[in-house]
């Protein structure tokens, strides 16, 4: 018997007049904005790219390269170039944040009940569970051009940087193959790309979560010209296991859901992955996030649990936020 633990991609809705398309893949929402003439081909190309990312990086399908590497922890496993690329980005993110954005939280999330695509995780599972533990360190992950070695007792999870990396790949593939400007959005991680890196003017609505926006929650319109934008929020992917409230942003220092003043952080970056690293690290850092962001001149917008908004100087001077 096969238990379905991952969410298959859906068929895309394509608007050929406006050059927009949307569908679901990697367990989240996906959107494209490009020229009307290219939107159909761009959507098909993006769907194929995301399929490749899914089969390489998914934690919810036993046949993915990542799961094979996890199952054989301690030994080198031959994997696809896509997983190698995704892991290089993830390990660089870990180094950039001194481990705050950690790709080795697979066992922690699995122990907490997040062992299948999120739409299938019970919202409130009373089953008691021990506090998650994990082995190994991200510094022990070995990546070559063709193989990955996961430290014994540990498991990879690319939930932090995986979607952002996918957005980068989709946008770069479309701009390179179809020679058109594009905005790729994978679960809120956004990347713009265009031939010759020509700047664009793409509006993006920043919010806490899709459910919150759909319920009339606050949204802020920003305009992007190039690079990436990412939003991390403790409002999304929440569940309860054994009486403990969880969300998907885990603090690797405690192996528990990140606590702190920030509900949602949005950041700019030269890639979607870079933006995601900044937004994820900020949620984990908590009080120390603002100084961390300012020190690195990151343009970021931080919203605390009371709804108070804080901008870094780089965000303010960038002028990307539309005054309303």
């Amino acid at each position: 018997m096969t238990t379905l633990t991952h969410e298959p991609a859906t068929t895309a809705t394509v608007d050929r007049e406006s050059g927009a398309s949307s569908w679901r893949a990697l367990g989240t929402y996906v959107m494209l904005r490009t020229t009307p003439d290219a939107v159909q081909a761009a959507t098909e190309l993006a769907a194929t790219v995301l399929d490749e990312v899914d089969v390489a990086c998914s934690r919810f399908r036993d046949d993915s390269d990542l799961m094979r590497a996890n199952a054989a922890a301690g030994t080198a496993v031959e994997v696809s170039r896509v997983l190698v690329g995704a892991l290089r980005v993830a390990l660089e993110a870990a180094a950039e944040t001194d481990g705050l954005v950690d790709p080795l939280l697979g066992d922690v999330l699995r122990s907490a009940g997040y062992d299948r695509t999120f739409s299938l995780v019970p919202a409130n599972d009373p089953t008691p569970t021990a506090l998650p533990v994990r082995g190994g360190s991200w510094r022990q992950v070995v990546v070559t051009d063709t193989s990955v070695t996961v430290p014994p007792g540990a498991a990879l999870d690319l939930g932090a940087t995986g979607k952002a990396f996918a957005a980068d790949l989709v946008a770069l593939c479309i701009a390179d193959t179809l020679d058109v400007p594009v905005l790729a959005c994978v679960g809120g991680d956004i990347r713009l790309a265009s031939p010759g890196d020509e700047p664009q003017d793409q509006p993006v609505l920043v919010g806490h979560s899709i459910a919150d926006l759909e319920a009339g929650g606050p949204g802020t319109l920003v305009h992007l010209a190039s690079g990436g934008l990412a939003t991390s929020s403790v409002s999304a992917r929440r569940w309860s296991r054994g009486g403990r409230q969880w969300h998907h942003l885990v603090d690797p220092r405690t192996n528990l859901p990140a606590t702190g003043p920030w509900r949602t952080v949005t950041a700019l970056g030269h890639t979607s992955a870079a933006a995601n690293v900044a937004s994820t690290a900020s949620i984990v850092l908590g009080d120390a996030a603002y100084d961390w962001l300012v020190e690195r001149q990151v343009a970021a917008r931080l919203v605390d649990h009371d709804g108070t908004v804080t901008h870094t100087p780089a965000w303010t001077t960038s002028g990307i936020e539309e005054n309303s």
Partner: protein
Amino acid sequence: MRALLSTGQRDRSRVVLTVLSGTLAAATVAGTGVATAFAAQETARSNADKARVKAASDAAAAKKQHDALVKWAKKNPVVVTKERKHKTVIKHVTLTLASSPGASTVGGGSTSSSSSSSSSSSSSSSSSSSSTTTRKKPVASRPAPPPPPPPPPSTGS
């Protein structure tokens, strides 16, 4: 010699005897049927019980074997190599670009591309406002452009 029974009595006795023997025969047949049905039911119940016990025993043995296999598999992970189509739409150069050193580096001024991100964002705003004026050149013969799509969201997901 005087008969013991009168003709009438003899006829009645014969009728009574016939009825009694008929009834007895019918009762015997019915009784045999009931007994046979009961025996069959008992046999079926007994067989069902035996089958149930055997099934439970088989299931317990299978679970024991499964648990032992799972335990063994945990200690002896086996990597199964699957042949996949090697066709890919992601070009090597694109993958290299997306995962090159610095791809995850945060900070507006730490790399040229990220600083251009911030500055070009500013220019985006200005170009946005200026394009509002330049785009408003009415072309009489051209139909009105379709309304722009709604802005994509960037949220936690």
